[in-house]
Symmetry: none
Subunit: 249 residues, 2 copies
């Protein structure tokens, strides 16, 4: 599929997939609809996985090129527009869009030179709030609330299908701020830096609110679309405030 190979389509990131069959079927659906790059965060079964290969039904290239990571943060390396897919409504300060809108944004972003990725959660319970907070945008699939348990490979297939529709059709050129956005690893390092600085203060009061406060901060800083220069500047701000009042005068 020339048009989608010319630009690198979005990466598919599976977080702790439990079953090799699901990884293989996801790879097959990716190949059906022209997506090539698969990243796996700590698959539960050893990798490479013969059951994945059998279920991929010939989509070997996707599996052979798949990379594994220990943490989602690392798996997002190089991506500067990240979508978290979810079937459940989330009570978070993040925009929620549908899959069609998401792939149109991804296509515009990729066309502008950015790298996009779609994150899919575990078979049984999806993504944690902390993982969703690492994304820029939440993508909601319109499942019936009365039977919301969507198979992992089905979810990947629907996003891949929407991608191919967008890649084959007219991707409306949405001017994208995010193409120049900092890579996810830079934002993760910024958040880590800020957390370490705040841990030396009374900010996390009471201490049991620490995790919830960090979810907010991470979501806020991940969603702001800062470019690399801005991230460096914010790190300078944190360092300066950490050091405190002037030393040289």
């Amino acid at each position: 599929m020339g048009e989608a190979e010319a630009v690198a389509g979005p990466s598919v990131v599976l977080v702790e997939p439990q079953l090799g069959e699901n990884i293989g079927m996801a790879a097959r659906a990716m190949a059906n609809f022209g997506l090539a790059e698969l990243r796996l965060v700590t698959p539960r079964e050893p990798w490479p996985n013969p059951k994945a290969k059998a279920a991929a039904a010939g989509a070997d290239a996707v599996l052979d090129d798949a990379r594994t990571f220990e943490k989602l943060e690392a798996a997002l390396g190089g991506l500067n527009l990240v979508f978290a897919t979810t079937a459940r409504p989330r009570d978070m300060f993040k925009p929620v869009i549908d899959a069609g809108e998401a792939v149109r944004r991804a296509a515009a972003h990729v066309e502008a030179g950015g790298r996009a990725g779609f994150v899919f959660g575990r078979e049984r319970w999806g993504l944690t709030n902390e993982e969703v907070a690492l994304a820029d945008v939440i993508v909601s699939l319109p499942v019936d609330p009365a039977f919301a348990s969507l198979n992992l490979a089905q979810a990947v297939g629907i996003v891949a299908y929407e991608w191919r529709k967008a890649a084959m059709g007219e991707a409306p050129p949405i001017p994208s701020k995010s193409a120049a956005a900092a890579g996810r690893e830079e934002v993760v390092a910024l958040v880590d830096h800020l957390e370490a600085a705040l841990e030396r203060t009374d900010f996390f009061t009471p201490p049991e609110k620490h995790a919830a406060m960090m979810v907010h901060l991470r979501a806020m800083l991940s969603g702001a679309g800062f470019n690399p220069l801005e991230v460096r500047m914010l790190r300078g701000v944190i360092s300066a405030l950490e050091k405190g009042p002037h030393r040289r005068r």
Copy 2:
């Protein structure tokens, strides 16, 4: 999902499905997206099929209500708008449309009191020309010709997904991040607070860069689209870092 239950959604007709797992996964995808009526033409394994039940992951109602037929002609009974799905181009005198267009036609047909159905072929080789000839319209899924072998349940899932999108109507309004953004005066106060804090440190080095650095910081914080809660949280961050290490311990 009231709106799709009120009208009977299209039937899903599987012709000689080979594997019980695929029937079960198709039923699961149907339930995910609000389709209820499954018709099976001569499934290869005996019916009911425990492997189908396991793969349905709880979509038992779809399987329990499924009916089996010996011939496709009989399975189409009562349907007066029939779509044949295919991943391959067909050399036939029939209109070929995409899945989105197909479900819109199906929805209009159902709303007008008709009954619609989507026919899916065998895992290995799809539908015969004779079977396709029984349909009114061919629905083509946009698979990559280089890897066109789409899993049966994936195909059903994509049609069901498109059905639900159509049944739910226009995409729900996307909550705009900017609508909830903090007022400009709150952002100005945040920037002023940060500037005052930084003036007590070595951040503005050399001092003649002070103004240019503030232009950057102001642009960055104004453009991030923070909401009022986020602005308050950032002011808390600045205050905490200003105060420095713990006092109470």
